[in-house]
Symmetry: C2
């Protein structure tokens, strides 16, 4: 799921996976605009130099993501963006790799501002010792990475922290949105880099949040997370939504 062919991710460059990415990128890049019918299967097989089974499995994947629809006699046609399942793990990472788009970035952050405080509240009510340990570990990694000036590693630990928080909420829906949150954080990091800002100004707040959760203070945890995200919003140059 997380491995592409680009990085030598231990082993096996499956054909259809590569094809899926190729086709998806073509669509994302706009080579095939919405409503456009792409060439017949046999022709595409020729172009891509693969067999029909492999191509069909690739197309199946893209159909399940809402990017394509196939009908006999008509061909395979590209669906408008509105039909895509943008929260799909693959689609999310691809569109991030190409170009997230300002509107999408804003939507992601708005969603974080709503979901993460709620997750913090629930975590304060339900977090298990294991959950707290995961949060502590991530926080320790963040602290260490910042001290070392290793910002990529800091971002990684930051993401781990927020995902651990979602898991601690014990809410299945929130946990399922981990991909979205993780992607949003990765984008935020890249934007910070682009602006030559130092990320991690809110490090101490993360520690305070753990304290709140440990103290079983749902209101405090929720507020702390809101404040944390408000700082992040300023860092990103967003107005914060209010």
């Amino acid at each position: 799921m997380t491995d592409d062919g680009s990085l030598a991710s231990r082993g096996k460059p499956r054909v259809h996976k590569q094809t899926v990415k190729t086709l998806a990128f073509s669509i994302l890049r706009g080579d095939f605009p919405a409503g456009h019918v792409l060439p017949p299967e046999t022709e595409l097989c020729d172009t891509l130099g693969i067999s029909r089974s492999a191509l069909r499995e690739s197309i199946r994947a893209l159909k399940d993501k809402g990017m394509l629809v196939a009908r006999p006699r008509h061909g395979t046609i590209v669906q408008p963006r509105s039909a895509w399942q943008l929260l799909d793990a693959d689609l999310l990472s691809w569109s991030m790799e190409i170009d997230p788009g300002a509107e999408f970035v804003l939507s992601l952050f708005e969603a974080r501002q709503v979901i993460e405080p709620a997750a913090a509240r629930l975590s304060a009510l339900r977090a298990t010792p294991d959950d707290l340990a995961a949060l502590e570990t991530a926080f320790a990694d963040m602290t260490r990475a910042k001290a070392a000036g290793d910002f990529p590693r800091f971002n990684e630990a930051d993401i781990a922290f927020h995902l651990a928080l979602l898991r601690a909420s014990s809410n299945v829906v929130f946990i399922q949105l981990s991909n979205m949150i993780g992607t949003a954080l990765a984008i935020a990091f890249r934007m910070s880099i682009a602006r030559a800002r130092e990320p991690g100004a809110s490090l101490s707040k993360h520690g305070d949040l753990i304290t709140m959760i440990r103290a079983r203070d749902p209101v405090g945890a929720e507020n702390m997370m809101s404040r944390l995200l408000a700082i992040a919003a300023i860092d990103l140059g967003l107005n914060g939504g209010e």
Copy 2:
């Protein structure tokens, strides 16, 4: 996407789609517990009476949903629930059809309590005339259906209302969660039926919500939606989360 073979949904009973459902149901029902390897492709083809291409496309779909993982020499193994992408449209409807599960239902409702008030707030800021018209139409349908005592139709209109609200928020992430919200509402409706309760006690609140949005009152809209959901929580016998 939305059509199954069960209902005569205008035309074409595709083989692999039926197979996907069959396999998914077997897994959901627990015939194949997590970690279990299902029979080799050739054998499964025999059992199901289909060709390998069809079976393979079906398995691809389930792999993309996180339910299966295939490795040469080992076979295709069933993944634990934690690896499944539960917010996937198909998976959501299937697990609802089989058995939602109390924990999952609670998670869905908690997510609604967080997301929908926020969507209401954003709608008050951004709703276009078209969005308002969609809300009005859905509300009118609700009113009419309730007057006629047609509860299934009422539920349908209710879902349309909430989806229109998400769309009016202009937040891509919220819009993408339409499936989840719709499913949650459908479950809520079935639970109400099971308890022999009359749904729709909060009808007037929906109208008030439209008024708030029309008046561009974000705080009022958010509060109204929260109250509306609190009523729904009571109807469902949930404690409401606070």
